[in-house]
């Protein structure tokens, strides 16, 4: 039986960085993957969706090019070509992960991992062949999550979750989206930008309920007014039926029909078949594995990272950070906590970036905060780019001026959030962020203006009326 210092179960955005980091630190490492290297993120999540969105954004912008003096004539898109490009990008990155793992001396096992004993892993190959058993000084569980598809939904080729949607080679002309979360809204915007007729049904009072209401309002206005997406909230989608001619359902009194139903009601952790009990582990009532801040499970020689862990944000970069931390803790025998400040990016139109707490969370916690906001309508670069909508917002502690949260909705919001994350991580005060000289003309200036606004000292916004 082969022995390794570290065995990683799952080669997604949590698992493969964990394997590489452990190998960098001199450990002998094995990684087990039952599907494709790169996991959901690279193959069926972040990367393929952003590839398609790049196309839809360009198409959408070109169609409105006349405002910027561009006449493109009759515009068409070829969804099959878009899908093909997506597959190529994914394949390129896929090879890249494999090369990185190999270059670091990580042994790759194809098959399904399960525990045989606390530190012994069984690998069952997908097809013919015998199981392999390997021994690991430390095992890192990084098996991720999969789309949750409630059992009451009809099993039909017109009812798809995100992964099956990405396999399409033609875009449906009308789309019904069940669930107004991140995935539902991203797909809705992408399809709508390409001209599909889209309806989003969300049971909660609003889409993307974890965001502050002003951010949600800005996105929803664009989705409804610019993209023509029908957004129905506060009602469940009922009487869902699928047939050869299409899908139908009812949200409250509204009858809905479409070519396809996209199910995006959340994700569930992948732990079935792992035989966790043989490692002395169990899952909580929602199926997640409990870990401490250092990513350790109850079993001292087993770590867990990413979507499979309790309290996970279900974000690839959070899994990566945890994976690196777990690898370091496993190899160096330390107990460093993984970072807990996780920015989130939503690739809707407009984009949304968020890091730290929301205003609502501050209010709920009874915390006294000051808020500074700056609209892109007041920013030279945004006007020059023809993208005057949206805003950035900073939330700071009233007593110490410490930056606690930052939110951006508008052009490049997902890239802009990086600066805010750095400032919050470094425990910057709003005053100091405002003192950093920002290059002009750039979108990033908006943070400086918002930091000024937080102290009522914004140069490029009219003062608030004196009370």
């Amino acid at each position: 039986m082969d022995k390794f210092d570290v065995v990683v179960m799952g080669a997604g955005p949590g698992g493969y960085p964990a394997a590489i980091r452990a190998a960098q630190l001199g450990a002998s490492v094995a990684i087990v993957e039952r599907e494709k290297l790169g996991g959901t993120c690279l193959n069926w999540g972040c990367i393929p969706t952003k590839t398609l969105i790049a196309s839809s954004e360009l198409f959408h912008a070109a169609r409105r090019g006349e405002a910027l003096g561009i006449k493109a004539g009759k515009l068409e898109y070829d969804y099959a070509a878009m899908a093909k490009r997506k597959d190529e990008v994914v394949a390129t990155l896929n090879r890249g992960v494999e090369q990185l793992l190999k270059a670091n001396g990580v042994k790759i096992f194809e098959g399904t991992a399960s525990f045989d004993a606390p530190t012994r892993v069984n690998i069952a190959p997908a097809g013919e062949g015998r199981d392999t058993r390997i021994e690991g000084g430390t095992v890192i569980i990084a098996t991720g999550s999969a789309s949750a598809v409630p059992g009451f939904l009809p099993k039909h080729r017109r009812v798809v979750e995100s992964r099956a949607f990405l396999d399409l080679t033609a875009l449906p002309s009308s789309l019904l989206v069940l669930g107004g979360g991140v995935i539902g809204c991203e797909f809705a915007c992408m399809a709508a930008q390409l001209g599909a007729e889209v309806t989003v049904v969300e049971m909660l009072d609003d889409i993307l309920a974890m965001l502050d209401s002003d951010v949600r309002r800005e996105l929803r206005r664009h989705m409804e007014q610019d993209l023509g997406i029908r957004v129905l909230t506060g009602k469940p989608l009922e009487n869902i039926e699928a047939s050869a001619s299409g899908v139908s359902g009812k949200a409250g009194e509204t009858e809905l029909k479409a070519d396809m139903l996209l199910v995006s009601v959340g994700r569930r952790p992948v732990t079935d078949g792992l035989a966790l009990d043989r490692a002395g582990l169990s899952v909580n009532e929602r199926g997640f594995i409990a870990v401490d801040a250092a990513c350790r499970t109850r079993n001292a020689s087993v770590f867990a990272i990413g979507d499979v862990t309790a309290g996970s944000t279900l974000l690839a970069h959070a899994a990566t950070a945890q994976g690196v931390t777990a690898a370091e803790n496993a190899v160096l025998k330390t107990r460093k906590p993984a970072g807990s400040l996780v920015p989130s990016c939503i690739f809707t139109s407009p984009e949304i970036g968020a890091v730290g707490i929301t205003e609502q969370q501050a209010r709920d916690a009874g915390r006294k905060v000051s808020v500074g906001k700056f609209g892109f309508a007041g920013l030279g670069k945004a006007l020059a780019s023809g993208e005057p909508n949206g805003f950035v917002k900073l939330i700071a502690d009233s007593e110490t001026d410490q930056l606690l949260g930052a939110h951006a909705v508008g052009p490049h919001a997902t890239d802009l959030i990086g600066e805010a994350a750095l400032a919050i991580h470094g425990e910057f005060t709003a005053e100091e962020l405002g003192r950093v000289i920002h290059a002009h003309p750039t979108f990033a200036e908006s943070w400086m203006e918002a930091a000024h606004a937080l102290h009522g000292a914004c140069i490029h916004a009219a003062p608030k009326r004196r009370k």
Partner: protein, 466 residues
């Protein structure tokens, strides 16, 4: 100042519920006082306006002192000698009461006029100008330092520039030695101190520094847990949380009384194990007949009987004299959420088992509800502390001030013991007697605690008593 409880000689008002000028109705709560045992609310016996508060909050004064005046507005206040703070006060700030005039309003003191007055102490701390001492500068809950403590260091003189640097740098200047005239701390002293403490090596996040400045945290004393030892906001928050906080009133009383007892009374301890197997069977029989008693009830009764056999254990010694208490006022320690009280079962020697059980149960219940009267909380002559329900093998209790001993009762456990030459499993309960060695010696303590043990083991005795 009302006298609550026989032993109370001084009390302090912890909170006035009325301000000067407020109207007061009969029966309204006027103020809260703290005695040795508890905080009590005091109702007004008079109707009128609170004209003058003489005793500020947190100043301890002898009982029967005048604490304020109630009368009609405009009425002048008599020039009663102002009450004297029993503890050493800080310099006074309150002006003297106005000159006397008629008619005289009723002093609040009359609320307790029926109680024996205590002769006012020599007004040592009253200044010649007759100002009333106040402790306005003492933080709430703090007491004046005991005289044995060394005097506080002389006030540090610090130049404005040095002060500004100290503030900007978030450091505590008190360890800095001044090199200026008269030991004045100057900017260069602060810089030298900062260099000696390797200040420039400190790394701190901007928000953490701001919080440290706002909360006056000395960052030289904060351990950083961020990358490379950088001081982060939670490190400063931890430093703030680690600051000393004032004990609750009750804990201060406990601290004072137990320290006094433990440091002035020479304790020694004798432990015996009582075999209560038969007693437990007997108690169960009683229970089946509808007669409910707790194990504590039997212990209390055994102690009461033994105290009458050994009167010296029901006495109090002050180092020069020993005074016997003619009645057994048995204290029973009752633990509360944050502290404990010792209500006394008065004249316990006159109570039958049923009365004893009812009294003990009622006292314990009211103690937990905070409804004991001050007299019930003071003046016990011997105490029983039962931790039987807390799963302990043995413990040593500290004698309550004013008493000669305390019995610490531990958990009864099934143990293998030798009995009549054979091994048997018996329910054994350890009891540890703590006694004042000034009046009780080893053999007497042994006899006393064994007398209690023998009673608990004698079921025939309990049959006759219940």
């Amino acid at each position: 100042m009302p006298k609550f409880g026989q032993m109370v000689e001084e009390s302090s008002i912890v909170k006035w519920h009325k301000k000067e000028g407020d109207s007061v109705r009969k029966g309204e709560i006027l103020f809260e006082i703290e005695t040795d045992k508890a905080v009590m609310e005091v109702e007004s016996f008079f109707e009128g306006t609170l004209l003058k508060i003489l005793v500020k909050e947190n100043v301890s004064v002898p009982v029967s002192s005048v604490v304020g005046y109630i009368g009609t507005p405009g009425e002048a206040i008599p020039a009663t000698p102002p009450p004297t703070a029993a503890a050493a006060p800080v310099p006074p700030q309150t002006p003297a009461p106005a000159q006397p005039a008629k008619p005289q309003p009723a002093p609040v003191q009359q609320a307790s006029a029926a109680l024996p007055a205590v002769a006012p102490r020599a007004p040592a701390s009253v200044r010649p100008d007759g100002l009333v001492p106040s402790d306005a500068k003492v933080t709430p809950g703090a007491r004046a330092p005991a005289p044995a403590l060394p005097a506080a260091p002389a006030r540090q003189i610090i130049s404005p520039r040095a002060k500004a640097l100290v503030k900007r740098s978030c450091i505590d200047p008190s360890p800095i030695a001044g090199s200026g005239p008269g030991g004045r701390v100057q900017e260069r002293d602060v810089r030298a101190y900062m260099e000696s403490r390797n200040y420039s090596a400190i790394r701190i996040s901007p928000a953490a520094k701001k919080l440290a400045a706002a909360r006056e945290v000395d960052i030289l004393r904060v351990r950083g847990t961020g990358a490379g030892g950088r001081i982060m906001i939670h490190d400063v928050e931890r430093a703030v949380a680690e600051r000393p906080r004032a004990l609750t009133k009750m804990r201060q009383v406990i601290a004072r009384r137990l320290t006094e007892s433990f440091t002035t009374t020479p304790h020694f301890y004798v432990t015996v194990a009582a075999d209560i197997t038969d007693l437990l069977v007997f108690r169960k029989d009683l229970k089946n007949r509808g007669e409910v008693y707790t194990v504590t009830d039997f212990v209390l009764e055994a102690v009461i009987m033994s105290l009458q056999e050994f009167p010296i254990l029901n006495s109090v010694c002050d180092g020069r004299t020993v005074r016997w208490h003619g009645s057994v006022d048995l204290g029973m320690a009752v633990s509360l959420e944050d502290g404990l009280v010792v209500p006394a079962i008065r004249n316990a020697q006159d109570l039958g088992m049923r009365e004893l059980h009812d009294t003990a149960a009622s006292l314990a219940a009211r103690a937990r509800e905070g409804k004991l009267t001050p007299d019930e909380m003071t003046g016990s002559t011997f105490t029983v502390s039962n931790m039987g329900m807390l799963d302990v093998d043995t413990f040593h209790a500290i004698i309550n001030p004013g008493e000669a001993g305390i019995l610490a009762v531990a958990t009864a456990r099934d143990r293998v013991v030798a009995r009549n030459g054979k091994m048997e499993i018996r329910s054994m309960m350890n009891m540890t007697l703590s006694v004042d060695h000034r009046i009780v010696d080893g053999s007497l303590a042994a006899d006393f605690v064994n007398a209690i043990r023998k009673k608990l083991e004698d079921v025939a005795l309990w049959t006759s008593l219940t």
